[in-house]
Each structure stands twice: as C-alpha cells, then as structure tokens.
C-alpha cells in the first residue's frame, strides 16, 4: 500500500468520523423533538419488572421513572458521545451503535409510557422470542458468508424445514424427531445450494432465488394438497414446552427473559456463543475466514477451499433448519403458507447490521425482534404511529449501514465469488 493510499484511507476515516458524529447529534436532536417536547413536567412512567406467570421468580418492585428527567439524561449521553466522536473518535463502533440505539429505544419507551404502566420484562421476553428465527437466519448467513458463499435461500430453507418439522413431528408424535428432520432438511437444501454454486458455479444469487421460489411453491403445494385436508393427522404437532432452568430462572428480570424459554430459544443462544468461539478461536474458524477472505492464499497453505465451503454452507443450512422448526413446532404447532413472512431476509439484514459477526448478528436480531414485537404493545399504550413504519425500520437501517457512512460494513473479501483453482 502506497503512502497516497494510506492518506486517502485516513481522509476517508476522518470524514466518516465527522459524519458519524453529526448523525449522533441529529439523533439527540430527534430525541428531543420527538419525545421531550410532547411531555409535561411531573409525568411518570411505570415499568413492570415481573412476568405475571413466572412461578418462583423473586418479585422485585416496578421501576418508576420521572419522564422528563430520564429523557434529558439519555439525550445527554447521546450528545456526550457525539462530542467525543467529533473530538477524538470512538474506536469501538459496535459499542457506540449499541449504546445509542439503547438510548433511543429507552427514550421512546419512556415517552410512550408517560402516565401509564408497561411491562418491560414482558416486552424483553417477547423481543427475544421474535428475535429467535431472525438470529438463526442471521447465523446461517454468517457461517456461509464467512466462507464466501452468499446464501439468500434462507427464506426457502426455513419454509421447507418448518413444514418438514411439523409433518414429521405430527406423524411420529415426537417433537424431537420433528426437530431432527427440520435440521436435516435445512442441511439438505443448503447442500443443493452448495453443489449448485461450488460444483456448477451457478451465480449464488440466482441459485438462492431459485431455491426460494421452489421452496415457496413446494411448501404451498404440499400444504394445499395434503395439510389443509388432513389437519389432525399431518399438521397438528403441538409445541415444545417452556423449560425453566433451575435457580437461574429465579433471577429477577434475567430469569423470565432468558431462562424460561423453549428449547429452540436456548439452542439459538448456545449457537450464538458457540459459533463466535468457533469462528474466532479455533483452527476451523481461522480456515473458514481464510477461505472467505483470500481463498487462493488459503489453498496455497493446503486448506481445501471447496470442502470448507461445503461444510460451512451445510452447517449454515442446518441452523436455518432449526430456525424453520421454530415457526412450527417451536411456536404455533402447525404450518401455514408463507409463514416465514420475510424473516429470512430480515436475518440477512441482521447479519449485515451485525457486521458478519455472530454476537453482532444476535444483537441486531434483538433490535429487529423488538421492532417486530413492539407493535402489539403500542396499540395497548394507544400510540398512533402506523406499525408499518416501525416494520420498515430494520430495512432502512440496513441500507444506511451499507452506505458505510455510519460505522462500516466489512464483508468477507471474497464473498459471493466462486473459487477457481
């Protein structure tokens, strides 16, 4: 790299630093205009800290916050960060985005709850549940794309495994068997994608689109030909019961949110941690990243590029298969046509927003899950923002992140390109 290049890079990062700072200031201003101006002094917001049905959890008092003071405190944090960013630059972009989104969401909630009561823990719990399929889709994306294979077939994979799960669980009267079949189906379909793009070098997007169209068609075909006519014998599996983890589930706030869920949610959390460790602290992870960044160099060092890609895409598919199982045997116990409703694509957005990083992808899934589950609560609080606009937010945020003006989306260098020896 020449000095000129270095200078250019420095200039670009300076520019980015200033733009990010200005955007943060704007967010602070937005918080003031949107929230503070619509409140009066002396208003209070009450947040419920207990789930009504959580047996055994230690009950703690509700959180009562003075609205205006809390909002000013949160705005101060954002403005302080903006000033810091403009003056010195903040190194950890993930932390910055995390704190600012937290401040924005918190001030929104405080404003929305003025003079009312709102069950915060219930909200957190339902956000985590909504985030589960998104996070699994995002993990599938992370694993494939870290090995440079773009997988936009996640939507189709999840639909097919959702249906496979419910049918096999209903027929065998065993939810675990359904879960196994779902994971198997996910792996198989991802295997087809892998063969098409690695062996036949089909354009990765085209293959993904084809699998999505096929998946939608095949699941709807089976659904209207068989499932709708034989609901009890084919499409009525029941769902996994929530498992309370001893002791941990009794911790206030954390207990009801994290430790009173069904198996799919637990598996998701375990996978997030496991994939993070595997990807960044094991030889397999190093190889995967090498194959995704510079396959030729990896090949020279004796890594089997094709094999790594096959393995990663198929493991990714199995994770997406688990995500598919969530829709049926993990939540409602039956299959409906097109029930994934774009969650696979939101997962893709979460992966980008989380910078191709398991923990990041999980955190963004939580934000997207929050946007998904807040709609219901907003109606209860009587707020008249059309829920459609909240649902748009994840997509718009992803597009903004991709511009690279705020933060930086660094994808694996060889992402999406087939490898030729």
């Amino acid at each position: 790299m020449t000095t000129e290049n270095l200078q250019q890079n420095k200039k670009a990062s300076n520019q980015r630093q200033i733009i990010t700072g200005i955007v943060l200031l704007l967010i602070g201003l937005l918080m003031f205009v949107l929230f503070v101006r619509n409140t009066q002094a002396g208003q209070q917001a009450t947040f419920g800290m207990n789930l009504s049905n959580d047996a055994g959890t230690i009950v703690i008092p509700d959180l009562v916050l003075p609205v205006q003071q809390s909002l000013y405190a949160l705005i101060t944090i954002v403005v302080f960060l903006a000033g810091w960013q403009l003056a010195r630059g903040i190194r950890s972009m993930g932390l910055l985005v995390g704190v600012v989104s937290f401040a924005f969401v918190a001030s929104f909630l405080i404003w929305a709850t003025k003079d009312q009561a709102f069950n915060l823990v219930g909200m957190m719990s339902s956000s985590l549940i909504s985030a589960t399929p998104i996070a699994l889709a995002a993990l599938c994306g992370v694993i494939s794309e870290r090995a440079a294979v773009v997988n936009i077939a996640i939507e189709g994979i999840m639909l097919l495994s959702a249906e496979a799960a419910v049918v096999s669980a209903t027929v065998s009267h065993n939810l675990w068997f359904g879960l196994f079949i779902a994971i198997l189906t996910g792996g198989l379909i991802a295997g087809v994608h892998a063969i098409l793009v690695i062996r036949f070098k089909v354009d990765q997007i085209v293959s993904g689109v084809a699998i999505n169209i096929f998946g939608t068609g095949a699941t709807s075909f089976i659904s209207s030909r068989y499932l709708e006519k034989h609901i009890d014998t084919l499409n009525n599996s029941g769902t996994f019961q929530n498992i309370s983890i001893p002791l941990l589930s009794k911790i206030p706030i954390l207990g009801p949110v994290f430790f009173q869920n069904n198996i799919v949610v637990y598996l998701m959390i375990i996978l997030v941690v496991a994939i993070h460790i595997l990807l960044f602290y094991t030889p397999w992870g190093l190889r995967t990243r090498a194959v995704g960044e510079h396959p030729k160099a990896a090949d020279t060092l004796g890594i089997n590029v094709y094999l790594m890609r096959y393995v990663n895409v198929i493991i990714g598919g199995m994770i997406a298969g688990l995500g598919g199982a969530y829709f049926t045997i993990g939540s409602v116990g039956r299959f409906d046509q097109d029930m994934t409703a774009g969650k696979g694509f939101i997962g893709l957005a979460a992966m980008i927003f989380g910078n191709w990083n398991p923990i990041g992808a999980f955190s963004s899934s939580l934000i997207f899950g929050f946007a998904d589950s807040i709609q219901v609560k907003m109606q209860i609080l009587g707020i008249n923002i059309p829920s459609e606009f909240l649902q748009m937010a994840p997509y718009i945020v992803t597009m903004i992140v991709l511009t690279g003006l705020i933060g930086r989306a660094v994808m694996p260098a060889a992402d999406g390109t087939p490898y030729e020896k």
């Binding site: 036949f200 293959s207 084809a210 096929f214 095949a218 511009t403």
Partner: protein, 421 residues
C-alpha cells in the same frame, strides 16, 4: 489493472464472443427449451405422485403394472390437459363460436372460446415488462431483485393518478397514469442505483430491502390513505379515462397493455443494441474497468440502468392496474417481480427471448388456475416448475449431463461480481 491485463481481458472477451458466434442460434435455444421441458417433466412426476388414483394403482404394481403406469399417465394428461386447455382454449370451440357469430351475430360463444388464450396474453403483459426490467439490469451487470417492490410502487402510483384525477380527457389522463407508474418504479430502482454507484453498497441487498419497504408502505397506503370506502384494504376503482382500452367486450380483459409491452420490448432492444447509451450499458456490464478506462462514466451508467430497470418494473405494475385490474389490493402482485428473474434468465437477457419466456409463463400461470379447479392440482405446482427451470438454465451442465449433449458454454454471462464491490 495494467495495460497488459486490459489487453488480455479484451482479447479473452473477443475469443469468447467468437466462440459464441460459432455456436449459433440452436445452442442458445437448446438449453432454455430443454430446461423448460425438464421442468415440465419433473412437474408431471410431482402430479403423478400427488394423485390418489395413481398412488393406489402403484400399490398394486405387482398385480397389474400396466394399470400403474396408465393411472399415472392419466393423472399427468388430465393435469397438463387442463393447464393447456385453460390457457390456450380449444380450437373446436373457437371454430364453433366463430360459425355461430357469422350465422346469428351472437358473439357470446366466440368470446367464451377465446377467453383462455386472451387471458394468457393478459397474464403475460406484466411479465414482459418485469422480465425486461431484470434483463436490462443483467445487461448492465446489475442484479435487480427489487422488481417486485418496484411493481407495487408503480401500480400504486398509477392507481392514485387513475382514481384521484376526475374529468380529465383520456389522452392526457392515461399517459399521465402510465408515466406515474414508470416514474415511481424508477425512483424505487434509482435509490439502490445511487447507493451502489456512490457508496458501493451492493444492489442485491438494497433492492431486497427496498422490496420490504415497498410491501410495508403499500400495506399502510392500502389500509389508510389510499383505502376506498369499503371494508377491504383496496384502492378505489380508477376512472374510465385512465384505463388502457380493451379490445373486446367483457369478459375478455385483453387490452392495449399487451401491444404496449411489445412496443416497449422493441424499444429496449433498439436502446440496448442501436444506441450509444445502450452500448455503454453493455460495456459497463461486460467489463466495468475497461468501460471506465475508455472514458465512460460507470457511476452515471449504474444509476441510469437501475432507474430504467425500476421504471420498466413500474410499468409492469401500471399495465396490471390500468389494463387488467383497475384497482390495487393487498397481495396484488402474486410474485411477478420474482418470476421476472426466471424470465430474464430464460430469455438470456435478450428482449426477444424475454418476450417469448413471458408468453410461456403467461400460459403456465393462467392455465394453472383451471388446472387447480378441473384437476385438483394446487396452482403452486407452477412455482415448483419455475424454480427448477431457473436452476437448469443457470446450470447448463446439469442439462448437458441429463441429455448427454454438447453445448458451447461460452455464453454463460457473469451476472454479479461479488457481494459488496
């Protein structure tokens, strides 16, 4: 890229072009035709497997093997018979209808006999526009997955102009409504174009995100600002002055949209192959670096391609509203935007090929309805066939393997380069 490398690439391109020329028209047609044929054969197998009588007969295979094959054949023949009679009509009925009209002046039977084939053309109309949209993107090296969203936005804009302006003469109103659709779709395509050209954000991700923004926006518009007075979330019916005139009395919906689509296809052909703009687009698509070094503006061309592509997809929505439906409701598109990717691939991104592919899909789609009602085969079988056709077109090696034929592989175009560059 050094001069030497540029020279090398151009020489490689030249030799590839030479090979392509030598392989001739037949090779270019052979893969798509065999892909469709294979798709239909597998579709037939699915029909046979999902047919009760056929399955029962196979259960008695060892007693009566011929009956098993016969039952399967019957199922397939009934299914595809219903498909093609439902989309092309029956010649005998047509002749009888015309004779009756000549003899008595009663046109009812004649119109009824021509209903299926005109309905296929009606279905093909938005397919032609949307297929051209994706094909134009491919020619310019860009993958527009957002045709679905652009279709929606175009349709909504056309519908708005169509119903909100009252009392305008048709020769102003109709062109205005058509232009509104094209402009709205164009804007929806331009945004990812700008993001790609200025920030390097990949158009695939951004067009997917724009799709979902469009879906949510249309949900909101249809349930609020653009909702008609009734209960259902649909727009009011457009004024007669904004309708694309129909050629025949009801129930035939065949209208000026179809000739317009053919004219636009001719225009796109002329634009791509006979104008400087078109040459630049193809140059940018074939090799952006070479185009840049020869003084073409890659940035401008990317924005131009995405805008035109979006405008074409918007026209698809406009034609559907102004010619066929006369109002917009939820779930209005039925996947035209995604199917159009299949069309562009099947038509080898050539406007003539796209028109042919669109006619085929029009026939399949409109025939599927009568296949569902007459033979009890769910309409989704078409999506299964489409997914397979895309895979076969995109991976000619599979077709070569199945039929043991040698087809020149020189015309396999690179559709996307990487995910983020």
């Amino acid at each position: 890229m050094t001069d030497n490398e540029v020279k090398e690439t151009t020489e490689k391109k030249k030799s590839e072009a030479g090979e392509k020329h030598g392989s001739g028209l037949i090779d270019n047609l052979l893969v798509p035709v065999l892909a469709v044929l294979t798709g239909l054969i597998i579709g037939g197998i699915v029909i046979a497997i999902s047919n009760d009588a056929s399955i029962t007969a196979w259960g008695h295979f060892f007693q009566d093997p011929i009956a098993a094959f016969k039952a399967s054949w019957d199922a397939i023949a009934t299914g595809y018979g219903a498909l093609f009679s439902g989309s092309l009509g029956k010649p005998a009925n047509m002749i009888a209808g015309i004779q009756q009209y000549m003899a008595t002046g009663d046109s009812k039977a004649m119109l009824k006999s021509f209903y299926p084939i005109t309905e296929s053309l009606v279905t093909a109309t938005p397919y032609i526009f949307a297929g051209l949209a994706v094909a134009l993107g491919f020619k310019g090296g860009l993958f527009n997955i957002g045709a679905e969203g652009q279709f929606y936005i175009g349709a909504l804009a056309s519908a708005y102009v169509g119903y909100s302006i009252i009392g305008m003469p048709w020769f102003f109103h109709l062109p205005l409504a058509i232009l509104a659709g094209a402009a709205a779709g164009g804007v929806w395509g331009m945004i990812p174009g700008i993001l790609k050209a200025k920030f390097g954000a990949h158009e695939v991700v951004n067009t997917i995100m724009m799709n979902y923004v469009a879906f949510r926006l249309s949900d909101w518009l249809l349930s609020g600002p653009m909702k008609s007075s009734g209960f259902r979330p649909v727009t009011p019916t457009i004024e007669a002055s904004a309708e694309l005139p129909r050629f025949f009395p009801d129930p035939l919906r065949f209208n000026w949209g179809f000739p317009l689509a053919l004219a636009v296809a001719a225009l796109v052909y002329w634009f791509l192959f006979k104008t400087t703009f078109g040459f630049e687009i193809r140059a940018v698509g074939a090799n952006p670096d070479a185009a840049k070094y020869s003084g073409m503006s890659v940035v401008r061309n990317i924005i131009l391609i995405m805008t035109l592509s979006g405008a074409l997809a918007g026209l698809a929505g406009a034609a559907q509203v102004l010619g066929t439906d006369h109002w917009v409701g939820q779930g209005f598109s039925a996947g035209y935007g995604f199917d159009s990717i299949a069309l562009a691939l099947l038509g080898k991104s050539n406007p003539i090929g796209v028109v042919l592919a669109a006619l085929l899909f029009g026939v399949l789609r409109s025939g599927a309805t009568s296949m569902q009602s007459l033979a009890g085969i769910p309409i989704h079988i078409i999506s299964i066939i489409q997914g397979l056709v895309i895979i076969f077109v995109a991976a000619p090696a599979i077709i070569r393997g199945i039929y043991h034929i040698r087809i020149g592989s020189a015309d396999e175009t690179v559709l996307t380069r990487g995910w983020g560059k």
